[in-house]
C-alpha cells in the first residue's frame, strides 16, 4: 500500500477532538452514576422486594439487557416525540444509557447482595436495623470489594459505548472524528488519533478506578 500519512492536516483538530472526549467522559460518568442508583435500588428490589416488585424489576432488567442499546436510544429519540415527548440529543442519549446501565448494574449488584450471609442479615435485623440501614451498613461494605472489578469494567464499557451518541447528533469524540474525516478525507490519520484518545481515556479511567478501589475498599485491583 502506497499511502503517505499526513498528520499535519489533522493535528490542528486535536483540541476539537479532546473537547469531544470531554463530552464522552461526561456522558459516561453521569450515566454510570444514574445507573448505580437504579442498580442499587433494583438489586434491593430483587433481593428483599415482594413478588410484584421483584417481578417488575425482572421485567425491566430483561427488557434492557436483551435489546440493543442503539435501539433503546433510537426509541427515546425518534419514537417518543410522536407521543409529545421531545428530548434533546444529549438528554435522549443520557437517559438511554442510564436506563441501560441500570439494568446491567442491577444484575451485577444482585449477585453481590445474594453473596451476603443470611446470618449476618438476620443479626442486623435483630439489632433493629431498617432495610436501608441493613443495605448501607451490612450489604454495601461487604460487597464493595468483590464487586469493584466488575463495576469498573462496566464503566469502561460505557465510556466506549458513548460513541453511539454520534448517531443522535451529540458532538462527542466519535461524532467529531466523523466531521473531521468528512472535511479532510484523512481517514487513517483521524481515526488513529481518535483511537489513541479513547485508549488514553480508558487507561486513565482504569488507573484511577484501580487506585480508588485499592485505598477505599482494599480491593485487589491491577493498576494497569
Amino acid at each position: 500500500m502506497s499511502y503517505t500519512l499526513q498528520f499535519g492536516q489533522v493535528t490542528d483538530y486535536i483540541p476539537y477532538l479532546i473537547g469531544g472526549a470531554w463530552i464522552s467522559l461526561q456522558i459516561a460518568f453521569l450515566a454510570f452514576c444514574g445507573g448505580m442508583i437504579i442498580g442499587t435500588l433494583g438489586a434491593m428490589a430483587k433481593t428483599f422486594g415482594g413478588r410484584i416488585v421483584s417481578g417488575l424489576t425482572n421485567a425491566y432488567v430483561a427488557f434492557f439487557m436483551n435489546t440493543p442499546q442503539l435501539v433503546q436510544i433510537f426509541f427515546i429519540y425518534f419514537a417518543l416525540p410522536d407521543a409529545g415527548i421531545l428530548l434533546t440529543s444529549y438528554e435522549a442519549v443520557l437517559i438511554g444509557m442510564t436506563l441501560n446501565a441500570g439494568a446491567y448494574l442491577t444484575e451485577i449488584q444482585r449477585a453481590g447482595f445474594q453473596s451476603v450471609h443470611r446470618n449476618e442479615m438476620e443479626a442486623a435485623e435483630t439489632l433493629g436495623m431498617s432495610l436501608l440501614q441493613r443495605v448501607r451498613y451490612v450489604v454495601l461494605p461487604h460487597i464493595a470489594r468483590v464487586l469493584f472489578p466488575p463495576l469498573s469494567n462496566q464503566y469502561i464499557l460505557m465510556t466506549l459505548g458513548t460513541s453511539m451518541a454520534a448517531i443522535f447528533g451529540v458532538e462527542e469524540l466519535t461524532g467529531r472524528a466523523f466531521n473531521i474525516n468528512a472535511e479532510t478525507f484523512r481517514s487513517i490519520e483521524v481515526f488513529s488519533i481518535t483511537a489513541i484518545i479513547y485508549i488514553a481515556l480508558t487507561l486513565c479511567a482504569t488507573f484511577m478506578l484501580g487506585l480508588f478501589g485499592r485505598y477505599l475498599f482494599r480491593a485487589k485491583m491491577r493498576l494497569l
Partner: protein
C-alpha cells in the same frame, strides 16, 4: 526454444494491440440509427436519478428518460454504469453516446464535452416548515436558528462559510434528518431539496415549505462528445418536445415524489 520465444513475442505483441488505447470517435446520429442501439451512461449511485433495483438492473429517472429517447429514435437502449470521475472520459472517447447523472452544465465541463438544453434542474435551497418566515438563506444566519443537516455532506461547507451563526444538529442520514425536522428538532435544512422529496412525503402531517429564493439552481443536461452536433441537435429537439408534452415533469414526479421545484421552461429557440 526458438518456437517458445516466438510464441512469447507474438503473445506480447497481441497484448499490446489489445490494450493500447484506440482512438475512438463519438458515434454520429446516423451510426446510432444504423447500429439500432443507443448507449447511455447512468450513475447508479444517485437515487432516484439512477439506482439498482432488486434484480440488479439500473432504474430511475435517467433510465426512463433515456428509454423514451431510444423509443423516439426507434432503437434499443443500452445502459452503461458510470461514476462521477470516469463519466466525462466515457463520453469523450465515444464509449457512450451521452451521459446523465445530475450533469450540471458549467464552463469547465463545457470545454471538454457539449451539452444539450437542460433536461432538469436541481434546487440547492432551504427546506423548512410552514409558519417559519425565512425569505432567503441569509435569514438563517442567526444564533436562534437550529439547522438539521446530514453528517459529512457538502452543504456543511456552505453553512460554515455563509450561515455560520446558526446552530447545526448533525444526524447520520437523510431519513433521520428529515424526520428530525418534521418532529420539530430544528428550523430548516440546506441541501439539494429535490433529492429529499421521497423522505418529505413520509411525513404526511408536516406542512413543508421550500424557501422561495433558492441558494442556487443547477441546470442539468445531457452531455455528448465535443462536436457531436448531429446527436446533440436531435436531442435538443426531442427534449423540447418532452418538456412541452409533460413527459419529463410526470417522470420526475414518479421518481422524486414531488414536482420539480424549479421547472425548466422549454424555449423553442436553441
Amino acid at each position: 526454444m526458438f518456437k517458445k520465444l516466438m510464441q512469447t513475442v507474438i503473445a506480447a505483441f497481441a497484448m499490446v494491440v489489445v490494450l493500447s488505447p484506440i482512438a475512438v470517435e463519438a458515434r454520429t446520429l446516423d451510426e446510432i440509427l444504423s447500429s439500432k442501439k443507443l448507449v447511455v451512461g447512468v450513475n447508479p449511485t444517485l437515487p432516484p436519478l439512477g439506482n439498482y433495483n432488486e434484480k440488479n438492473e439500473i432504474v430511475g429517472f435517467d433510465v426512463d428518460l433515456s428509454q423514451k429517447l431510444a423509443d423516439m429514435l426507434g432503437v434499443e437502449l443500452e445502459v452503461i454504469k458510470v461514476g462521477s470521475p470516469d463519466r466525462i472520459p466515457f463520453v469523450a472517447t465515444g464509449k457512450i453516446d451521452y451521459v446523465m447523472g445530475a450533469m450540471t452544465r458549467n464552463p469547465e465541463r463545457a470545454k471538454i464535452i457539449d451539452f444539450t438544453v437542460p433536461a432538469h434542474t436541481e434546487v440547492f435551497g432551504v427546506l423548512t416548515t410552514e409558519g417559519k418566515s425565512y425569505a432567503t438563506y441569509k435569514d438563517l444566519d442567526s444564533a436562534d436558528v437550529q439547522l438539521v443537516q446530514v453528517r459529512g455532506t457538502t452543504p456543511l461547507k456552505f453553512i460554515k462559510e455563509n450561515v455560520s451563526k446558526a446552530k447545526v444538529l448533525l444526524l447520520d442520514n437523510y431519513p433521520d434528518a428529515v424526520r428530525a425536522l418534521a418532529q420539530g428538532r430544528g428550523d430548516a435544512m440546506i441541501d439539494v431539496i429535490d433529492f429529499v422529496g421521497e423522505h418529505m412525503n413520509k411525513h404526511k402531517d408536516t406542512k413543508w415549505k421550500v424557501v422561495d429564493a433558492p441558494v442556487n439552481v443547477y441546470f442539468c443536461a445531457l452531455g455528448v462528445a465535443k462536436g457531436n452536433s448531429s446527436l446533440r441537435d436531435w436531442l435538443n429537439v426531442a427534449l423540447f418536445e418532452l418538456h412541452r408534452d409533460g413527459f419529463i415533469d410526470t417522470t420526475w414526479k414518479k421518481w422524486f415524489g414531488i414536482d420539480m421545484l424549479y421547472s425548466v421552461s422549454p424555449s423553442p429557440y436553441f
